[in-house]
Amino acid sequence: MVRNGEMEASSEVSGPESWGRYPRVPQEAVALAWADDPLPDGPAVLAHGMGRSYGDSCLNAEGPVLLTRALRRFISFDSQAGVLRAEAGTTLGEVTELALTRGWMPPVLPGTQFVTLGGAVANDIHGKGHHRTGAFGRHVRALGLRRSDGSLHALRPGEPLFEATVAGLGLTGLITWVEIQLERVPGAWVEAEGTRFRSLEEVQALDEESRETHAHTVAWIDGLARGRALGRGVFFRGNLVAGPQKLPRRPTPRRVPEAPEFLLSPFVLRTFNALYDHLPRWRSRTSVWKFFHPLDALGGWNRLYGRRGFFQHQSVVPDLEGVRALLALTSTRGQGSFLSVLKRFGSLSSPGMLSFPRPGWTLTVDVPNRGEETLAYLDEMDAVVRTYGGAIYPAKDARMSGETFRLGYPRVDEFAAFIDPRFRSRLWARVMG
């Protein structure tokens, strides 16, 4: 195990970054090779997996982060019952790849396969299937937690420390392993369908009609459309199907060079416009990798936002009126948030005290960082979310106020009692400090 004092030669800031590359701060890091490696000295530590949290929830201002990527060994797999246990640094992509060989899949897959099991638990992540399977934490049968006092805990659903650790932002200790219940699937392919819609009423109708018939749904919204065009977009839905026997190959991570954002926007806009203008409705059979993780094909697409980084604003509001108000803001003040993602959460409850998924609509907007004006705009977005009684997703956040956080997460004081005294994140210091 080696201390990471002066890593990085190619840019001005050293150490691991968050996905939004904001805030850009030096970050000390210590790589763990084994789950029982000693924790480094210092006032505070925090686990850091794939660095796919967008803001500062995966960064630590008061000491090193613990790199968990080498903790990626499978522990057991009951291929009859579909129960898999693996070390917490294993990625969902690795789990999916193995599970598919025996006809199983994780019941919750986020937009990228490059997230660790530990991160999936700590953020209680969700996916396109939320209306049917709920958040990730619902499928965790047990997890290993190592506290800084040296104690090791095997936690199960229903226990208070389990409910604190799921969606606990890594603050309750080091998650060392996770056991999940997988879901039976007919194959590794998705019968996918895209339908364009002209308004939020239309997307609501599409969502209603697909709720029982389609396991996975999500909508892309044109974030620049105004007036009568506001709320136009493309609705995607799909079901797993058998397809060809040979499993599709899992894409591996790629590193792309840092580039100014003008390279990214044409790509996304062109894709969107091509779909919108020329394909009112289409069907295709695609691999699980392409359907669930479309942006993975672009590799480190976050770097295309350039060195100032970007924000992702993801909120949940109880009904479509909140979404309409948010879109009205993005379309006039959008600052280049050209594409937004909309998904309706189902009614299944999330197990974590700080879980983000709750009944309602979740809207996700990418915003390039242009300094003060961007921060002011995002504050306006927060105000709308507060007005409609919603919440902001901490895994994506780098700037919400403590007040916004508290309003969205009423169980925060109950949660705070379970925090490990040596675990800290920049996000926590910011919203609670």
Binding site: A9, D36, F74, L98
Partner: protein
């Protein structure tokens, strides 16, 4: 593959060894694993079993105990019912500065990185030559190609190991045993994290694992991993001393 490959991994808990073993396990190989820590070895063994490997032997011993090599090899050959592949992968990256200050630390690192690796190769070669077949892989390093200020204690051991492997391969010509010398550049494992290495030069451990697996299966003789290091090192070796010493490499 109809009959499973029979693979002995020495230093099975090293990051690169785990990556190679994962590829063999996914192909249904039969595996014998040796490493120092019993607990860590058990962790690796369960992982390989989940991936489809059949782990027939786990031995936790310190490979610097040279007297135990022959027994170990015999035991592995019996457990595996023959040896198709032996991978010598144990090693450590010592703190260069500390070694400069304390010769005992240098010697201790050479015991691991060169002495025990070379004698293990010899012991493995003996058994494989007797069987008339097998592939003997050894993890050397590009660090052994030319001594550099910040890691020549490590590099010197790897240079010796490369030379030893070359001589052993030469001696074994015609016996049916192939010696494969593997020379990785920096790989993204806990061993190198925190070193001052440009991220663009650090290879993904799974890519390295697959490349080494292919090299062993094909019986390639000297393999740079990834391949670009062959050319980088050719240039670096060819530089005149005065120029080389001015470089920050």
């Amino acid at each position: 593959m109809s009959t499973p490959r029979r693979v002995l991994v020495l230093g099975a808990t090293s990051g690169i060894a785990q990556a190679v073993a994962r590829v063999y396990a996914a192909g249904g190989a039969r595996l014998a694993l040796v490493a120092r820590s019993r607990e860590h070895l058990a962790t690796v063994a369960s992982d390989l079993a989940v991936r489809g490997g059949e782990v027939v032997l786990q031995r936790s011993i310190d490979l610097c105990e040279l007297d135990r090599h022959r027994t170990l090899l015999a035991e592995a050959e019996t457990a595996l019912d023959g040896l198709d592949v032996v991978l010598v992968a144990h090693g450590l990256l010592p703190d260069q500065q500390a070694c400069q200050e304390d010769p005992r630390r240098s010697v201790a690192s050479w015991d691991v990185n060169f002495v025990s690796a070379a004698t293990l190769m010899e012991a493995a070669a003996e058994r494989m030559a007797a069987a008339g077949r097998g592939t003997l892989g050894v993890l050397s390093s590009v660090a052994g190609e030319r001594g550099r200020a910040d890691n020549y204690v490590y590099g010197a051991a790897k240079a010796a190991l490369t030379t030893y492997a070359s001589g052993l391969g030469h001696r074994l010509r015609g016996t049916g045993v192939t010696v494969v010398t593997l020379k990785p550049g920096p790989v993204d494992t806990p061993m190198i994290r925190g070193r001052n290495i440009s991220p663009g030069l650090v290879a993904d451990v799974d890519v390295v694992g697959r490349r080494i697996h292919r090299a062993l299966e094909r019986g390639e003789r000297v393999v740079y991993v990834p391949g670009k290091w062959r050319w980088i090192m050719a240039v670096l070796r060819a530089l005149p001393v005065r120029l080389f010493e001015r470089l920050k490499v």
